[in-house]
Symmetry: D2
Subunit: 392 residues, 4 copies
Amino acid sequence: MNFETIKSNIKAFVEKELITLEPWILNAEWEEKLPKLNELREKTKAQGLWLPQIPKEYGGLGLTNAEHGEVSEILAANPYGHYCFNCQAPDAGNMEILIEFGTDAQKEQYLYPLLRGEIRSCFAMTEPDHAGSNPVKMGSVALKDGDNYVINGHKWFTSACDGASFAIAMLVTDPEGDNPHERASQIIVPLDTEGFEFVRNVSIMGHTGGGWESHAEIKFNDCKVPLTNVLGKDGAGFAIAQARLGPGRIHHCMRWIGICERSLDLMCKRAVSREIAEGEYLSDKQTIQNWISESRAEINAARLLVQDAAHKIDIQGAKNTRAEISIIKFFCADILQKVVDRAIQVHGALGMTDDIILSYFYRHERAARIYDGADEVHKSRLARAILKKYKV
Amino acid sequence: MNFETIKSNIKAFVEKELITLEPWILNAEWEEKLPKLNELREKTKAQGLWLPQIPKEYGGLGLTNAEHGEVSEILAANPYGHYCFNCQAPDAGNMEILIEFGTDAQKEQYLYPLLRGEIRSCFAMTEPDHAGSNPVKMGSVALKDGDNYVINGHKWFTSACDGASFAIAMLVTDPEGDNPHERASQIIVPLDTEGFEFVRNVSIMGHTGGGWESHAEIKFNDCKVPLTNVLGKDGAGFAIAQARLGPGRIHHCMRWIGICERSLDLMCKRAVSREIAEGEYLSDKQTIQNWISESRAEINAARLLVQDAAHKIDIQGAKNTRAEISIIKFFCADILQKVVDRAIQVHGALGMTDDIILSYFYRHERAARIYDGADEVHKSRLARAILKKYKV
Amino acid sequence: MNFETIKSNIKAFVEKELITLEPWILNAEWEEKLPKLNELREKTKAQGLWLPQIPKEYGGLGLTNAEHGEVSEILAANPYGHYCFNCQAPDAGNMEILIEFGTDAQKEQYLYPLLRGEIRSCFAMTEPDHAGSNPVKMGSVALKDGDNYVINGHKWFTSACDGASFAIAMLVTDPEGDNPHERASQIIVPLDTEGFEFVRNVSIMGHTGGGWESHAEIKFNDCKVPLTNVLGKDGAGFAIAQARLGPGRIHHCMRWIGICERSLDLMCKRAVSREIAEGEYLSDKQTIQNWISESRAEINAARLLVQDAAHKIDIQGAKNTRAEISIIKFFCADILQKVVDRAIQVHGALGMTDDIILSYFYRHERAARIYDGADEVHKSRLARAILKKYKV
Amino acid sequence: MNFETIKSNIKAFVEKELITLEPWILNAEWEEKLPKLNELREKTKAQGLWLPQIPKEYGGLGLTNAEHGEVSEILAANPYGHYCFNCQAPDAGNMEILIEFGTDAQKEQYLYPLLRGEIRSCFAMTEPDHAGSNPVKMGSVALKDGDNYVINGHKWFTSACDGASFAIAMLVTDPEGDNPHERASQIIVPLDTEGFEFVRNVSIMGHTGGGWESHAEIKFNDCKVPLTNVLGKDGAGFAIAQARLGPGRIHHCMRWIGICERSLDLMCKRAVSREIAEGEYLSDKQTIQNWISESRAEINAARLLVQDAAHKIDIQGAKNTRAEISIIKFFCADILQKVVDRAIQVHGALGMTDDIILSYFYRHERAARIYDGADEVHKSRLARAILKKYKV
């Protein structure tokens, strides 16, 4: 199957199998929709579309970053797109890390079941008491004690923790280390470890959710895991996070662009079909026309920026593409919110309802300007990088 | 009790009785919180603060429009503020109409129980198949048949219908009438009338809600109500709607301003308490400072505009204050969304959660730019009114 | 003459005598238009409208701050409005200071000729090498030497210096003073003082201008003036500047609002008269309608904010109204730029030309966001004041 | 000379020969600076950099559209960049048209002297009495009379007319033609033709300018030119205008991007050098950082959009790239105004002066949102094109 075929098959799947499920799937509880989603996962496997982003030797389609970006845009039309193909966050990032940094034993125990879709995982980084913008101030620790780490800490926004088999947790392993960026490690913590406390699924935008659709608050109370559960090596936590972040950002942004495309598409459909006076349609109103054109321009600009960043990551590495990665973070998050907001406004009262998907996007994607570094943090960082060249 | 005492008592009540209930009350189902709310209603009655907006002869505090605007701002700090004092939409507007246009019999049957808080009511105007911006295109009809109206129609966004005793419905009574603004009437429809169909509570922003917190889709299938159920007179539907809209707009806008004040207050509290680096707080960041100052300026501006419109309604009538009423509609709705959005951003991940109230405001108040005439409709209307003076 | 008559006479004067002179007066050199302006000044004197802002005992009309605000809005329709009534900056501010702080001798020599319109003056504060936002960092000094101050310094944006008789200069008189806000004084410097160097009229937005319409760069090279030339007392420079700033801000903002009203008026006239297709006018385009309505709303909001600040200055003093004064500074400057920009866009190519006044506003009023404290400085200051209440 | 060498030589020329001339050259009259500019033109010829955009067979460097776009960005750092290399508007567009549509005789008489820089030309399209957005409503006509066209009409914004040898004028040659897009022709009119009336150089943003830096109002009063002066063929006016517009838009947008880069560069230089408090620089302020980062992101996005459009023009023709061309028009014009505005604000009072180039950009480039189709017109057109696919 060449890439064009893969894309058109994936697009057809999303349109036929997922979009037709809206709004049922948007209003159901996780437990209700899980059987349906598992059924759809079987279909994508059967169609040979499973794990598009994973190297062929691990059973995936082996798409490049840029290619998976395009796929990610298509999948984003529905919130369950990525899940059906087993490339959903945070599992996709965890798979990636395990492939790159995992030992054979780690792969055997954690990676392969994940690739097969038998288990789910989570990623525990954000802490309620420390600003995410300052990773040096993390409070959760994993201290060495013989062959074990003893873990104590408090995390939240541990997405998809509810029902997951293990977490990859960012933990301070060397609190007094000279280099603040080598103080933390990423450690695999099975969730049945004694001392692991599932506090709650935090209610987000009106829903606690459940299963893959949830964001847990958790505590580690003297959890013991063997030293061999560290990823890469002790102190490599930030370096691995950086490695994860670059391509992850590309796929996130492409997902946002997919949401924008879906929203613009709905906007256009509504505009031509809603009659506001005898023979006059919403599409005849210049304000609506402005929104459509501005959205078109901004989405195109965003996509080109993301593709450009993806290309640069490929040729010069994520480390040398930090400026571009910051740019796509805040530029795309801003566009995303604007386009979704316009789409809702074009739909009027209907846009507020869960009869269409826009309200879902509106609620869930507000976080885009906040997570993985608030836009404001990226702007300051980028500016400082730019200004460095000017300082004498 | 003078007005200053009333205000400070109401403010104390909101802070002590309601804000302390957050976030429990934000995350509970209607049925769970109803007993608590009824208990609070008893307290406001006991404190002599019940029905602030209602004339004294009807058992209220007899506040002027401008005074109730100030109260409305205070109550808006929590979504149940208005409810506890029995001045919540849509009941408040229905009371107002019944007082102004109701017959003695109508008052006896519908108004007094409403004033006592024994029943709830709803207002059925919006239709799924017709643009709200064009009232002439309404599709629901009430045709005279002997002593009755026979009502057929389809409405949605009939807020608080679930559990209400009666609706005031806007219905076309004279489809072929020469004056399109005299074709409709407002008619009282008891919800136990045969043929009344409660289709569903429409899921809005992720929740179907229930009770007072719901927005129903309903149908009238050959519902019969006596001709005496009309408000004012046959054909007066629009005139009454206009009369309702002016002061209603003031109170809505003051409610929005109250939400803005609450959001700004939370923004400031967060800014001074969130440490982002050693000894550096969010409040030290210039972007946060900008948001606080811009919010302060915009809220002040919005309040002055609303007070000015209220004053003009008082001296020249709502009809001659249409320009000012359009202005406060779109100006305040715009500010509202901006201020709430900034407050969320200042809170970072916490702002997405239901641990604080901002996510509630974010979801529920997005409708502000849509209902009672989308902002775009008001802008076009206002411009045409302004330009009329320029045309030769 | 009651206030309403004063206003309508002034409005009639501006419309008949000044607006009809556009665009000649916008495109002429200062020397060319001076005779015409002097002629108009004689007319305003003859009509008893001279010096509206000055107390009656000094020969003015004795308007209150709020009243002169209204007049200032009317005068702003044309850039020479204030000049014709001798209430133009910087002379008006200088008159005010001299009335409040001047000795009899100072009044005799500097104030009265100014009131009569026989001489002009300037105010020298801004320095090219020091940020205006930090008054403590001023570099120009006036050191006591016997009965004299010996002045050395470098200023620019000394508006209307070219042809003025004297400057009121802000100068550091006590560089080591404990209280940084008592280090500077305001000192009268006649411009024929030896050592005063007129460097140039700085070219601003394409024009060096001349006379009253210029912004000079100047130097003081060992200029000697008697100690009696100080205003108020030695060290009172900042206090006097503060006293000047409050009411000055009101009048500035009302002038900006006047410019907005003029721009909106032109926008509407153009919209109804410009045919863009058979029978379709610019005024039929929704984008234009949006601009008109948004401008109307924003101008109304700005005016109410300014009136509110004026009222508060009157009852609680400028010192306790600093928050409101900061708000009107940045709020009105922002609105001003937006409204003028929209007006130009509505005029298309014509808006770029000096056939109408908009290009003049566009160029000259860009400074509004910069002078008297950049908007960004006011926002930070205001935020810090707001946040002070929140800090523990 | 390969392209990289061409670019670096051009860049060096702009920096060494032009930027060092600021602000003298910004404040001089055309006649004063002409000798200097002619001298610089001799240098670019001597360096083999003359006519970068012109095919080699016509004596140019033969750059592709995309390559000349990059050059155009470099040249834009100074307003005389394009002039020094003889690729300035409107001559460059006229050369292009003459190369593509000119007869041998037309080339001999008009093109070759233009290529050599011996004469200048202008393009007469815009009319004061007709909206530029509606080309069908043009009022100037060229009626056939024997072997001649007899031309009558009124044009303005005929840029660089003052001192030009000929105009290419857009004129209605077939007023009653069935196809409104075949009614007009482009006709060469030597400016010494009898009946040609140079009304005035219109004062734009405070300056009438002169020579190449001017925008004339002109009239054709029974001007006779031979029928052979038509370009292409009679009725081909719009087709030729379209052909001109595509690549012209690319170069315009790249020029705007060059202005943005220059402005951002100045912004950064100022930010790191302006001390606002002891040891604190403008670059430490988060607002300034935001502006720098947002500008960087927006400029990158704009450039990618323009490059993408250029690429599409190359492979699918300008006619099929209309959507992209509309997008870059309004997207880049918007960015341009924002970035220049921010740069001015960062410079404070200095930004208002002609001591640096920003005020020049501010005044001259405000037209970007107006000419070649106001942004609003492009947005409506684009939206209608997008919506066409949705209509049933």
